[in-house]
């Protein structure tokens, strides 16, 4: 037998070689992973740090440190100031007089997002309850009527939507930001799937106890779909907070701009104050990023759910 012929020394040597090879491969793999890791972090995070770093120093300091590159380009070591935030939030009379104050726009974005989330919770949930759990002749076709609207690309219908909202007489008002979005076919569709998964025995037991449809919705269906409701609420909030094209065309008064449109109009001014623009950008994206960092699971859930429909 050949196996027996290998002496102990030879055996150790072979084992050592194999071991070294494995260690080598593992190290290379780890180095590769770390390099890619750092690369991804730089490419995706650095721009955001750049914004935060520049929002706490004045415009002169930003451009002085832009070139040549040093650590100062990224990290504000001296001249730290919250002036830019004071100007954008209307706490500094200079900022207000220059039209840099976006506190009102932030409030409008926040308010319209909250109103839409609340309306959506009422109307989408009840519609999903209808589609998921109630009987109606021809309900299948009604669901097709709802699902078909999801095929319509949103940017394409903005011009037509403008015509309709204009004829309702609410263009260029707060209501134009809210009314078209009080219900969403996509969210009705998602919640319908959630609700039709609940076992019907719950309903039957409740009906025997004499509960009507409202009571079943409130006491049984809603408590069992809380994670779904949180997910779709975040989706709506993010949608309204970040929406740009619709408010851009629907709102023509600067006082009524939501924050995204206000930031864009600051940037496209002929002589923007860069420190102020950086602070405004941090305020326009900060809330939603913080929300994401705390509630990551629900954000991923919303993506996974929309991926399912494909």
């Amino acid at each position: 037998m050949t196996i027996n012929k290998i002496s102990k020394e030879e055996h150790d040597q072979i084992a050592k070689k194999l071991h070294q090879k494995a260690v080598m491969r593992k190290t290379l793999n780890a180095i590769f992973t770390v390099v890619v890791y750092i690369l991804i972090a730089i490419v995706f995070i650095m721009p955001l740090f750049y914004v935060i770093g520049n929002s706490v120093r004045d415009s002169r300091a930003i451009w002085q440190n832009a070139y040549p590159i040093s650590l100062r380009t990224f990290i504000p070591f001296e001249g730290l100031t919250l002036q830019n935030y004071a100007k954008t939030l209307g706490l500094d009379p200079l900022g207000t007089s220059m039209g840099w104050d976006i506190s009102r726009n932030l409030l409008i974005s926040l308010l319209s997002a909250i109103v839409v989330v609340c309306l959506s919770l009422i109307f989408n949930t009840s519609a999903a309850y209808f589609f998921g759990r109630l009987w109606f002749p021809g309900k299948k076709y009604l669901l097709v009527f709802v699902v078909a609207t999801m095929m319509i690309p949103s940017q394409v219908v903005m011009v037509p939507l403008y015509l309709v909202v204009d004829s309702l007489g609410i263009i260029n008002s707060f209501w134009a930001l809210v009314v078209p979005w009080y219900a969403s076919p996509f969210i009705v569709f998602l919640l319908t799937q959630f609700m039709s998964d609940l076992p019907y025995e719950y309903d039957e037991a409740a009906i025997i106890d004499g509960a009507n449809k409202w009571q079943i919705l409130w006491r049984i269906v809603i408590p069992n779909t809380i994670p779904g409701l949180v997910t779709v609420s975040l989706m709506e909030f993010q949608f309204i907070w970040n929406e740009f094209y619709w408010p851009l065309i629907a709102i023509s008064t600067k006082n009524l701009y939501p924050v995204q449109v206000a930031v864009a109009s600051q940037f496209t001014e002929s002589e923007p104050n860069w420190g102020v623009v950086f602070a405004a950008m941090a305020l326009a994206s900060g809330p939603i990023i913080i929300l994401f960092l705390f509630l990551q699971r629900y954000f991923y859930e919303s993506v996974a759910m929309s991926g399912l429909k494909g």
Binding site: Y37, P180, K213, L217, S285
Partner: protein
Amino acid sequence: MAAISKLEIPRAPWWKRKKFKDAFTAILFALPALVNFLVFRYFPIIWSARASFWEYSLLGGFRKYLGFGNYVRLFGDRLFWQSMGVTAKFFLMYVPIVVALAMLLALFSNQRKPGMGVIRAIIFIPVVTSFVVVSIIWGMLLNKDVGLVNSIIRSFGLPRISFLMDKNNALPTIAMISIWKNVGYSVIVLAAGLKSIPGEMYEAAIVDGANNWQRFWKITIPMISRQLMFVTVWATLGAFQVFIPVYSLTQGGPSRATNVIVYYIYSKAFQFGEMGYASAMSMVLLFVLLIVSVLQMRLFKRDY
């Protein structure tokens, strides 16, 4: 028993029966949402389809019936075709890279190694950030004279690059910004697909002597074809509707190099007030998008 009850209880007319009374209360739950969809999703398309046959302006309303006039004009409009060409170019730059990059990042972040959750969160942050803010950030980073990217290029002794003001660079730059913003969404979709592939399949393939490459093409790709289709169709719809980076960074320029179709429609509708003509273009775009997404779905279905 059944016969007796039939004899003794006269059947109520259908609208008084409990089943239909229930149906009536049931539809009340859905009514507000259905009204929304009718008024704000279907009606705009009908209205716009009508406006596309008229000379329609914001102030004057339906002014003059043109028949197919707007559509005839559209076919002769050199700028419309130029704009469609720009959009097609953008589509070709954007979609393959988004899908391929998302696949790579999904494979990378799907490894069982520490810190992958953080990586996924980092890639996803641009997705939740507004596109306006993303565009402005990159507009500043890529600025020719003071932008950080050019400072880095300059530190290596290379000449500064004009990213957004050069007609050859502008569209690829817009595509790059859009990829940076959107790729995280596709990564999450594909990673969810990868996670759902049972590990036994790979084990069986290893036993059969399949190498990494074969395992990728014969197992991974077919198993997540549904997610790949979703990501591709979604990226295509996004590519044909790109607007925000163009609006905030280049306004369609330089020399119309970034004059994508949605921006062209926007400028016709809201800068020139030609609503009827813009509606006709919207209708054509809607039609093109329906065809493209149906074709793509067919293409992916053929594999199965």
